[in-house]
Subunit: 232 residues, 2 copies
Amino acid sequence: MTNASYKQFCPVAMAAEILCTRWTVVLLRELVAGSTRFNELRRGVPRMSPALLSKRLRELEAAGVIERQRLTDAPEIEAYRLTDAGRDLQPVIEAIGMWGQKWVETEPTLENLDPELLMWDMRRNLNTDPLPQARTVIEFLYSDLPPAQRKWWLIVESDGTVDLCHIDPGFDVDLYLNTNLRTMTAIWIGLSDVRSAVANGTLLMTGRRDVGNSMQQWLGLSPFAVQEKLAS
Amino acid sequence: MTNASYKQFCPVAMAAEILCTRWTVVLLRELVAGSTRFNELRRGVPRMSPALLSKRLRELEAAGVIERQRLTDAPEIEAYRLTDAGRDLQPVIEAIGMWGQKWVETEPTLENLDPELLMWDMRRNLNTDPLPQARTVIEFLYSDLPPAQRKWWLIVESDGTVDLCHIDPGFDVDLYLNTNLRTMTAIWIGLSDVRSAVANGTLLMTGRRDVGNSMQQWLGLSPFAVQEKLAS
DNA sequence: CCGGATCCGGTTAGATACTG
DNA sequence: CAGTATCTAACCGGATCCGG
């Protein structure tokens, strides 16, 4: 149940016992980003088995990093929330991510593409300010993916809420984007940008010109895109 | 050989693949602190098996965090040095250590006592400024330890070099310290201090009064002792 | 001493299926 | 929705041994 200790009194070692087990830092990124429910966390760490996720959540609870809340009106549903100690992990996760953005080579990163993670991240960080006040629908078509993962829709309601669908919601589409997953991911993590992807033909836009022209603005980038990459 | 990937393009996940495997962060702390040789690193991570240490060093080399240098005058001896990317991990290790100091509970920390790690850390951070110009010898006696680990000597030469012995060097001793390992470790990581340990009788001093009175100054503390602990 | 390699048993993690 | 159960594969710890 409990992990083997490093048997070192050094705070780095004590913290590493809690943080540096497999999947834990990735899970913490998801918690710091605001996910609270079991299946919400699963979407953020889809390759982690539910058994291990459950185990890690129990370990983080025992370490005082998260606490579980039972909703009074739905006692069978639990929510996992960061404690003060957990919220204080944000600088740690950020430091790890900034180092990764700066020093991990590009190629291995772009071998780990995942449309659902990308669309989920984009939904989370979308900036609605440059978009029209009315409901706006943007269709993403990844021409290199199989049918089940090919089409995604971002729906920005007039009140600013953002929804993500991968089945056709049936609304009129304001902007069609035709691209491939690698191009869109590279833009998202700051290795490319909308202008150059359009220029070299890997990103095609159809529909409302105003929505297309402001894409670099409404597409909030990865929080780590601000960090310049130094690795090749 | 290579670790299983998280298959996420997120920089946090990419960095975690390199950093968050067992022992890696503790090993990096040792490298950031300045150790370069295989057996020097072993002293800093004594419970890590040499096979795993060797494997981790190869992985960190492949990740571009360290590089090995063969000394030209002794080509059979290798040195492991941080690259630019490796030196840039210092803020990450510091952030982890500061979080650990602030939030990991005291009791588990003080169950991981180790006199060799403690003395080694003290040697590394000792502040020679408040000490006499002549050679100064300080004897540590841990009354709770078995004979083989009971006595240690710090020898500060007049040129400022510091040596650590655990066999009697035969020099005249300027200051005798009689304490226990838990007390000394608590002082080192900032959970106690020299004054209160002397006051409650867990630290006894004999010998030169001036060297004893300046102990809180020449005993450079753990780099993380500046961080206040909030956990119980 | 230095820098590992090898072997073996126990623990951890992954894959898949299934349940209240 | 929120997890367990089960089985297998990978990893790790500890001891021992080896070549320079």
